[in-house]
Symmetry: C2
Amino acid sequence: MKVILVGFGVIGRGVINVIKRKREYLKKRYGMDLKVVAICDSSGAAIDENGLDLDLALEVKKKKGKIAEYPDKGVSLPATEVIETLDGDVLIEATPTNIENGEPAKTYIIQAFKSGKHVITANKGPLALYFQELMSYAKKYNKIFRYEASVGGAMPIINLARETLAGNEIIEIKGILNGTTNYILTKMERENLDFDTVLKEAQELGIAETDPYQDISGLDTAAKIVILANSIMDMNVTIKDVKIEGITRITPEALTMANKGGYTIKLIGEVKKNKLEVGPKLIPLDDPLNVKGSLNVAKLYTDLAKEVIVVGRGAGSIETSSAILSDIISIYLQMSKQ
Amino acid sequence: MKVILVGFGVIGRGVINVIKRKREYLKKRYGMDLKVVAICDSSGAAIDENGLDLDLALEVKKKKGKIAEYPDKGVSLPATEVIETLDGDVLIEATPTNIENGEPAKTYIIQAFKSGKHVITANKGPLALYFQELMSYAKKYNKIFRYEASVGGAMPIINLARETLAGNEIIEIKGILNGTTNYILTKMERENLDFDTVLKEAQELGIAETDPYQDISGLDTAAKIVILANSIMDMNVTIKDVKIEGITRITPEALTMANKGGYTIKLIGEVKKNKLEVGPKLIPLDDPLNVKGSLNVAKLYTDLAKEVIVVGRGAGSIETSSAILSDIISIYLQMSKQ
């Protein structure tokens, strides 16, 4: 199993750490001999067809900031060239999310399919913008395309709906798909603080990003429900089809009033036939959707199993890499049966 | 895909109804041509190698109570002989649970493996008592063994842990795995009623069984945590290893007191290293384990994804059959790749 990793930020390093941790387990449990044959970042790449030294790769990145500085095997080749020319089974695409045009991830993913590689991505951008196009490339080149980590981090939802609940029609999805906003609302509610104060604190703690616009505007949640709609509800929609409202206008007074009536307020993403919506909603206090802190939750309504709810950590480098690892294993098992 | 169904009670009929409902979908989506070649109950069997008429089978069972009365193709053969001699891909074992010795399910399952059939069961008995033995037969005869419906009905937990969370080590499981007791405790709490009153009412509504011992004693939950321990935590335990306490001594006063302190009381099954336990526990009101009514919930604690919680319907004939259908699809996909 030869893996090419593109993107060596928080997620990419998480993937490498998880592979290091699980390498022996993968060999023992699945007979998988996993080699990372290339790691690319914006500086270039480290390439070794016999498998890179992962400790060394992490150290080089930490000390020098550039994977191209990897001794002997570091090169200044762009990722596009590595993907196209290097022999490998799977591309793990972990570059930063770009919700405007999905690049450079989109190009990398298509190149990987064209050059005969399966693809795993954690990247919402290309999926929310070009889902059908990317799927058609996967189909054309007969390659597997997995993206569990793109929605809900470690909260397993896509593979849950498609495989664990196989046979069920997913009629409706409703959930909290953004941990930052859930953290902010939970804290505002518990400590009676206003939005700006909590946002500032969350930024200082590194829970919210310096530019929190995508999270608090609801855009991040909207991208995720588009992915869910396309991938597990057979829809064909983009982010333009979603009615979006953020949480910036929620006050601690509104939360207190909601509480008094037996409710809380959550930023909910919702998909059903003819309705894609993101916005603050009243949720009963004893509803399973009322999860606290930065947890994510999704409620699927299906024709046979009826309601199925799943809760998990929506962020974190190891947690997100857990979803990527499950995708690696799934691809390996499918490859080894062919 | 030739299916033999043994057991034509609530679950068996649910399976047939779900197959009827999903037959076209299975053909379209997976290319699966599913035929039920035999249905067995205690009266005998209906057999048709070209596939039984499922509407007719349901009607015969409803009107005459015996599948052996199926016109022309009804026979008084015992299930053992049908399983052994009839050509088929998968045995769906849906006979009543026997927590004493696992029979007759255990015999049927082993026979199916020996005669070259994959097996799906919804039956806790043989799994809680003879897990390792049954697995060894599956391995010896190189057959697939699936049992998602045996724990939590439509709540997907086994396949979730083994496949969707593949690569994760499951360190701890904690959950409500019995809908009847959850219904009773929820009702006692909400309406301030005592145990006996609520139990009686639940029996009248058909939510609790006439003999509710297995549910209220915690035995049913214990069987389920044994299955989880063996199947997703690589343990080798039986029901004798579980410390069990039921809910018969819980009073409405205890629930009110717990509520005042911010807690509720739930019948919790718990597995971790060196600890298998079933008993009433205090659960914080805002904990995801505090689900209401007859819902089931399981909290998995894993090394990478950390906590993952899943909630679903623990009972119901269509809901349970949903889990069996997912197992059918999974086996079909594995067969068609070989």
